[in-house]
């Protein structure tokens, strides 16, 4: 059984009904056997009952009419508050026609699946062509094949020779020729 000090310490919680079942049982057993602590509990209940019953002065009806009129006068000089954006979104969604859960779930799953496939495919390297750095190397290689032309710069000035630079032409959109 708990001691008087322990029980008295816990009396506010006991009277409030806030003790757990075991502590409440202990306190009840103690109070049944201890008149002093039982009197303390009764006194505490009396204090709380008096505190609960404390009245407040009741103003006359005219007071309340003036009270309301005063509040109205202060609030009607301001525009009515508008609902917050969030509240409007919630209200708007509440107004939507109710969708049946199963078809909505299926549609959402299909949409999610399609998005996932799209993402995976967009991350995959393009299969037909080589990676970007390989293309660059290939271009260098192709240009290098005509290096002898670049070394004869005076020949390059001749238009027909430039026409032969099919590698340079290929850089204008066509795939470089790699041999």
């Amino acid at each position: 059984m708990s001691t008087c000090a322990e029980v008295r310490e816990g009396l506010p919680a006991y009277v409030d009904g806030a003790l757990d079942a075991e502590a409440e049982r202990d306190a009840a057993e103690h109070l049944a056997a201890c008149p002093a602590c039982a009197a303390e509990a009764a006194a505490l209940r009396a204090i709380l009952a008096r505190a609960a019953a404390l009245p407040a002065p009741e103003p006359p009806p005219a007071f309340w009419r003036e009270f309301e009129a005063s509040v109205r006068a202060r609030v009607t000089t301001r525009p009515a508050p508008r609902p917050s954006r969030w509240a409007r979104v919630v209200e708007w969604t509440a107004g939507l026609p109710r969708l049946r859960p199963a078809p909505v779930l299926v549609a959402a799953s299909v949409l999610g699946l399609l998005l996932a496939i799209g993402l995976i495919r967009s991350n995959r390297p393009m299969q037909p062509g080589p990676p970007a750095e390989v293309v660059t190397a290939s271009q260098d290689l192709a240009i290098g094949q005509d290096l002898d032309l670049f070394q004869q710069l005076d020949l390059l000035e001749e238009e027909e020779l430039l026409e032969r630079l099919d590698v340079l032409r290929s850089l204008d959109g066509a795939r470089p020729r790699v041999t």
Binding site: C4, A36, C37, A39, L48, W86
Partner: protein, 188 residues
């Protein structure tokens, strides 16, 4: 939430400012009494409770209906009361010194013919503001600890602790007034 409250809030938010009068009529007495019990001053109670409604109107767009409208309104009113008491304590520290006040007659004293009721009212008045708020919300408004925690913006554990501190303080203060326990025999 109380259905007429929801409807009135929605009407105000839709532009019908007159609908706010429904909410004022519904709660003006509760809020006024709460403010009176916190301040024990009729004029302050009137000003604070009116200000609570005006602030509620201004902030109505932020009310999301997750709590009851009354809880939300209590929170505004209680904040105003606590701030008022803090300001009063700064101006006159003797007002909140933890002692029973000296002889003073106000509207409540006139109503209280029983000396023990007067003593209880006086003891409540000397509690620290947070404890007094918790005690009044619990015993006079009959609110649960969770709702009190929402109103006072604290955890439920803090609300409970404040309440139990307040009750023990009342016990201590009222022993001198004969509301405490009689003699004590130890039981083990």
């Amino acid at each position: 939430m109380h259905q007429p409250d929801i409807e009135a809030v929605q009407r105000v938010l839709a532009g019908d400012t007159e609908a706010f009068g429904v909410l004022v009529q519904q709660y003006q007495q509760e809020i006024y009494r709460l403010a009176y019990r916190m301040t024990r001053n009729a004029e302050d109670a009137k000003d604070l409770s009116q200000e609570a409604f005006v602030q509620a109107y201004r902030a109505l767009r932020s009310f999301r209906g997750q709590a009851r409208f009354s809880t939300w309104l209590y929170r505004i009113a209680m904040n105003l009361c606590l701030n008022h008491l803090k300001a009063a304590a700064r101006e006159d520290p003797a007002e909140v010194n933890g002692d029973l006040p000296g002889p003073r007659t106000d509207a409540l004293d006139v109503l209280l013919t029983d000396e023990r009721d007067r003593a209880v009212a006086a003891a409540v008045q000397t509690l620290p503001p947070q404890q007094k708020a918790t005690l009044l919300l619990r015993v006079q408004q009959g609110l649960g600890h969770r709702e009190i925690a929402e109103i006072l913006d604290c955890s439920e554990g803090t609300a409970k602790a404040n309440y139990f501190h307040a009750v023990r303080a009342l016990q201590r203060k009222l022993r001198a007034f004969g509301e405490g326990a009689p003699g004590h025999e130890h039981v083990r």
